[in-house]
């Protein structure tokens, strides 16, 4: 049977008005259902006829999932809030600019207008073998095409690989982890809340999914506590093109510095493993140290411990090291105006 790509097949479209209705649909259709947020990840899968749901549950009409509100000194962001809305929201910009920066570096303006924060954190990996529809581990097969003697794996993982070497491409995810955000998940059994860093799952635990979200569950909101409001933030994304490109590596850090010394810190990177990694070893090593280049150097070296390069991605190791260094010690700017 021949393969054809880039023609979206027919499916039944539901646009539930409430989250409950959506959950009922997911329960009813089980593995035949597909949850659609902004569609930027979904449409690729659907157009290429690789994922073939019979039913698409479009969340765009569900009430209460879109918008940002203040909550206990922090924020609650509806999962269907677009990245553009997140980027432009005054409270996000004022208190949690780390998230605004990360979200603004995602994709392109057009994509950010359509793409949602929930979709951005829950998106699937962009491994080009997997996305070609090749039946790899992540697709339920028995091979990783990206880690073979001839594989092209410049964009793949240096840490925590287990059979699969794909990476998580989200730009908002590390920012949320650094802000101690929580993911609000609703399922048939009601609501559960997980910490952002625990929302993501590596191939060692579940090689076919990127998050702990079960097929019958929905991410409804993201809560950002007030804890890190107004802290010193650092976000940087390294990519080949200045727009519409996934991160090769990105980094998000929130620091509370007092008297030149780091009092508290959260740091997360993405693009290096199948899930965004919180760098707890770095965090504990730099507490009490001055927020300067020397501490950064030390932190960078700790960050890359255990990193394993594939044939084409060894550069990610120094890149991650340098980004960790910059997140703590800052960037030494050039004397000229650029």
């Amino acid at each position: 049977m021949a393969v054809i790509r880039d023609v979206m097949p027919a499916f039944e479209l539901f646009q539930p008005a409430t989250t409950d209705d959506a959950l009922a649909l997911l329960a009813k259709y089980g593995s035949d259902a597909w949850v659609l947020a902004g569609g930027l990840d979904s449409f690729d899968w659907l157009k290429d006829r690789i994922k073939r749901p019979k039913v698409v549950v479009d969340m765009s009409q569900a009430s209460g999932l879109r918008g940002i509100k203040e909550m206990n000194g922090g924020l609650e962001i509806g999962a269907m809030t677009t990245l553009t809305e997140v980027v432009r929201h005054p409270l996000v910009k004022e208190h949690f600019s780390l998230l605004a920066e990360g979200a603004e570096l995602a994709a392109s303006p057009q994509i950010r207008n359509q793409g949602t924060i929930g979709g951005n954190v829950s998106q699937d990996t962009r491994c080009w073998y997997y996305r070609s529809g090749w039946k790899c581990y992540r697709a339920g097969g028995n091979i990783c095409f990206a880690d073979t003697p001839t594989a092209i794996n410049r964009e793949h993982a240096i840490l925590d690989a287990d059979r699969c070497v794909a990476v998580n491409p989200s730009d908002s995810a590390p920012a949320l982890i650094a802000l101690d955000a929580q993911m609000v998940i609703r399922g048939p059994g009601g609501e559960r809340v997980v910490n952002a860093q625990d929302y993501f799952v590596g191939p060692d635990i579940n090689i076919m999914r990127m998050t702990v979200l079960k097929p019958n569950e929905l991410l409804t909101a993201i809560r950002i506590p007030g804890t890190w409001g107004g802290a010193k933030f650092y976000f940087e994304k390294i990519r080949d093109r200045q727009v519409w490109d996934f991160p090769l590596v990105n980094i998000a850090a929130a620091m509370k510095v007092s008297g030149g010394k780091i009092e508290q810190i959260r740091m997360a990177v993405n693009g290096v493993a199948a899930r965004p990694l919180r760098l707890t070893a770095v965090e504990s090593a730099v507490i009490g140290k001055p927020a300067d280049a020397a501490t950064g150097e030390m932190a960078g070296k700790i960050a890359i411990q255990g990193a394993v390069a594939l044939r084409f991605n060894a550069y990610k190791i120094p890149l991650m090291r340098n980004l960790v260094k910059r997140a703590i010690g800052g960037v030494q700017e050039a004397a000229w105006k650029s």
Partner: protein
């Protein structure tokens, strides 16, 4: 871009900005492209693409697909007309090539090659039908990397070999027309063990070539040299990635086929379709008013349009083939990547006295491409080596078919040569602009190899002027001494020169001055975005001295009586068609003068034309164009087209007949003399800034100065400078193909994977262009094309600037992505794989 000006004196319209008549439709979304058309009862077709990089169809079982409701027909390669010989308008016989690409195939030579098509009531049904088709395949050996197929014992991409060989043309028999070009042959070619050993050391072996030419005495040249530089470089394969894919819709009426397609050339697409279908060209109508980009990939549209054409005939209904982005990646053409090695000898003062150039091209399965040979010709022109040998191996790979892409071969040649120039200047302690100036072509500079001791030459070249103007605009000397490294940043500047063909001759013009006094110009040029399909006709208004508003241009539909026109490829249009326009305007002028003399007395020479009138010199009696048009209709004969000029081509003759009797008809072939081959030149200057901790770099400033003769339309010219330079930057920055060599399958098929540059990757606010504004002496209005040379200049100026910022030991191939830079900075060795293709 307000800083940019051209300064061509003495023209009323040429060199001035204006709004082309297609512009409003384009910016308001009203323009209709091939896929916007619908016809009664229209079906859609979808393609079944080969899953194998090389294989043979053993059996097709389409029964389940054909049994589906809504599925109308399937078209396989067996139903295509076989390749047939054809005779060009000049009477040259082109023999049938059994190895030529066809719309569908039973022996796919690359993954993604169309094998069959299904027509159905809608695309969904067609796609589902495709999924129900079962094909039994025979797998055949394949190679996607030219280096792999050249290894001893390496697989061949074609069953009969891996390298193209073009036999020398047969000498013309006395009294006969010259024979057509001989058919390319395929050879099985492998490196020797010694050459393979050199390859394993990371060096491109200068093996036995499959083509070569030379001039001068290269050995003597090297003896004279004080410095010999031996460098290899690898350039990327880059898809054209036009915004509009090669969609086509076709229907047949009364034995004629009407094809809505996406093409660079309107008139020239007619004979191409006729040839592909083995039908007479009078039975082909091409409709293409707007084309969403071509860059060489749609010179006469694409052979894939034969699929809806033949399906339409088979089912007797219009058939639309919308080509998806996925399909466009496969059938949409790409620039062949080069593996090049240069051995160059310089004297102490920087003169290039000997150049031994060797290239291996990754030509895909169909060919051979002209890129290989062009690379040598352009290098010989750009850097004027005193003695040169060019050798090439045109390798066949199981990757999508290549085609011309802006500055085909020239860009690759420049990209391979520029690092050599850069290195030589650094070694000799010379300024980078100075070494290029010393070796720059001037006047009737030579190009290509010598045949019987004689080389071709160009019409003109003012490259030193371009370098001087660019250096001044860029403030080269001032910036040369700026600090290179500060904080975590490094910056560098680079210059590159580039050249390419920029004009052909011998085509026709056609227009009618109607009794309403307006000039109705027929344009056979394609609307590929360069605006030359309108710009070139400004010459008519200029010569006849009428306001542009009095001209109406018809384009984009060969049923509307268009003249024989050059293909819009190789940036020949503005040159070829301003000549044709000039010739036709002169024809009109002559006819106007004759009519005036007939009506008002005196001889034609007593009259002059201007202001929409023909009038007696020094003032006095005259006719308006409206009156002259009426008189022409009354006079008939040659004046209104009832008598067809002998000199124009077959298509123009038919169009003249079609338009006859409507007014004063002017039709003429460009028969102006030209001494030399027309080329244009660009000197590019770039500044880059590199982040030493991430390897990221940005082009912060760019100046491009073009030697293109008379600039006809500055805004369109600026668009070409910016667009084609950006295309070149893409080659430096990130754009490439990626292949999995185990399966011979492409991985970078979508924009976000193949990474062409975006508007945010290029210095949109710091891009300056200028022209040297010296008209070409060998063409009436002095105009040459601009669409090619900015590419190589753009790519190489940036790469040279990177070397200036970081030193020489960083990269050996392009694009230079941040991983390469960072790895090199970390390890102190070049950060790239030297020779593997498609990584």
């Amino acid at each position: 871009m307000p800083t940019n000006k051209v300064n061509i004196p003495n023209y009323r319209l040429l060199g001035k900005n204006y709004t082309t008549p297609d512009m409003v439709a384009k910016v308001t979304g009203k323009s209709k492209y091939a896929e916007d058309f619908r016809a009664e009862g229209m079906l859609f077709c979808k393609l079944l693409l080969s899953p194998l990089p090389h294989g043979r169809v053993k059996r097709i079982d389409a029964s389940a697909a054909l049994a589906m409701p809504g599925v109308k027909a399937i078209l396989t390669a067996d139903e295509l007309p076989p390749p047939a010989p054809f005779i060009t308008d000049d009477g040259v016989m082109i023999p049938a090539d059994p190895r030529a690409e066809r719309g569908l195939t039973n022996e796919p030579l690359y993954q993604g090659e169309p094998v069959l098509a299904v027509a159905a009531v809608d695309e969904l049904t067609a796609a589902e039908a495709i999924e129900k088709i079962q094909i039994d395949w025979e797998r055949l050996p394949f190679a996607v990397d030219p280096m792999v197929t050249l290894k001893p014992g390496g697989p061949n991409a074609r069953t009969d070999g891996n390298v193209w060989v073009v036999p020398p043309p047969a000498p013309p028999k006395p009294g006969e027309k010259p024979a057509g070009p001989p058919l390319p042959q395929v050879q099985d070619f492998k490196w020797t063990d010694a050459e393979y050993a050199e390859f394993k050391q990371g060096k491109l072996p200068m093996s036995k070539p499959s083509m070569e030419w030379s001039y001068g005495d290269i050995e003597a040249g090297f003896k004279k040299a004080d410095l010999v530089v031996d460098e290899a470089f690898v350039t990327p394969n880059t898809s054209h990635q036009c915004m509009e894919t090669r969609t086509a819709m076709a229907y047949w009426q009364n034995g004629k086929v009407f094809v809505h397609c996406s093409t660079q050339s309107t008139a020239q697409t007619v004979p191409a379709i006729a040839r592909w279908l083995s039908i007479d060209q009078t039975n082909v109508v091409v409709i293409s008013e707007y084309t969403g980009g071509g860059f060489g990939s749609k010179v006469t549209s694409g052979i894939s349009l034969t699929i809806p054409v033949l399906l339409s005939k088979k089912v007797n209904a219009p058939v639309m083939m919308r080509v998806s982005r996925e399909e466009e990646h496969y059938i949409g053409r790409a620039r062949p990547g080069f593996h090049g090695r240069m051995k160059a000898g310089f004297t102490k003062d920087g003169r290039l006295v000997a150049l031994d150039m060797f290239v291996v091209t990754d030509g895909g399965p169909y060919g051979p491409q002209g890129d290989a040979n062009s690379s040598g010709r352009i290098v010989s022109l750009c850097y004027t080596p005193e003695n040169m040998r060019w050798r090439g191996v045109n390798v066949i790979t199981n990757t999508p078919p290549r085609g011309a892409q802006s500055q085909p071969g020239g860009a690759q040649g420049v990209m391979i040569m520029e690092p050599v120039m850069n290195k030589a200047a650094n070694k000799l302690g010379l300024d980078q602009v100075a070494i290029r100036r010393i070796n720059a072509p001037a006047g009737k500079a030579g190009i290509g190899g010598a045949i019987k001791g004689k080389r071709d030459h160009v019409t003109s070249a003012f490259v030193q002027e371009a370098l001087d103007k660019g250096a001044e605009l860029f403030r080269w000397n001032e910036r040369k001494s700026q600090v290179k490294k500060s904080g975590t940043k490094a910056r560098g500047i680079g210059v590159a020169v580039s050249a390419y063909s920029a004009g052909s001759i011998g085509f026709d013009g056609l227009f009618v001055i109607k009794p309403d006094g307006k000039i109705y110009i027929q344009s056979g040029v394609g609307n590929l975005g360069t605006e030359s399909m309108i710009d070139s006709h400004r010459v008519v208004a200029e010569v006849l001295g009428v306001p542009w508003e009095q001209c109406v241009v018809t384009w984009g539909n060969t049923a509307k009586h268009l003249p024989w026109t050059c293909p819009s490829g190789g940036s020949q249009t503005i040159h070829a068609m301003t000549r044709a326009a000039h010739a036709t305007a002169m024809d009109a002028k002559q006819k106007l003068q004759e009519i005036a003399a007939m009506d008002l007395g005196g001889t034609p020479a007593d009259y002059e034309v201007g202001g929409g009138r023909v009038f007696r010199k020094g003032g006095g009696a005259g006719l308006t164009f409206a009156q002259a048009a009426q008189r022409a209709i009354k006079l008939g004969g040659k004046y209104d087209g009832h008598e067809v000029p002998e000199t124009v081509s077959r298509m123009t003759k038919a169009s003249v007949t079609g338009l006859a009797g409507q007014g004063l008809l002017a039709a003429a072939k460009d028969k102006y003399k030209r001494d030399g081959i027309t080329n244009s030149y660009v000197a590019g200057f770039a500044e880059v800034e590199v982040d030493l901790e991430t390897g990221e770099y940005r082009i912060v400033d760019y100046v491009g100065v073009a030697d293109v003769g008379t600039v006809i339309h500055p805004r369109a010219f600026g668009g070409q400078m910016f667009g084609r330079t950006s295309l070149g930057w893409g080659h430096a920055l990130a754009q490439k193909w990626v292949y999995d060599q185990h399966y011979g399958a492409p991985l970078a098929k979508r924009f976000y994977n193949s990474k062409p540059p975006t508007i945010l990757d290029v210095p949109v606010n710091n891009f300056k262009w200028a022209a040297v504004d010296i008209p070409d002496p060998e063409t009436p209005v002095g105009a040459r094309g601009i669409g090619e040379p900015p590419v190589g200049a753009g790519a190489s100026a940036v790469l040279n600037a990177l070397v200036d910022a970081l030193g020489e030991n960083i990269f050996r191939r392009a694009p230079v992505t941040l991983d390469i830079i960072l790895t090199a900075l970390e390890t102190g060795k070049p950060g790239d794989d030297p020779l593997t293709a498609h990584i």
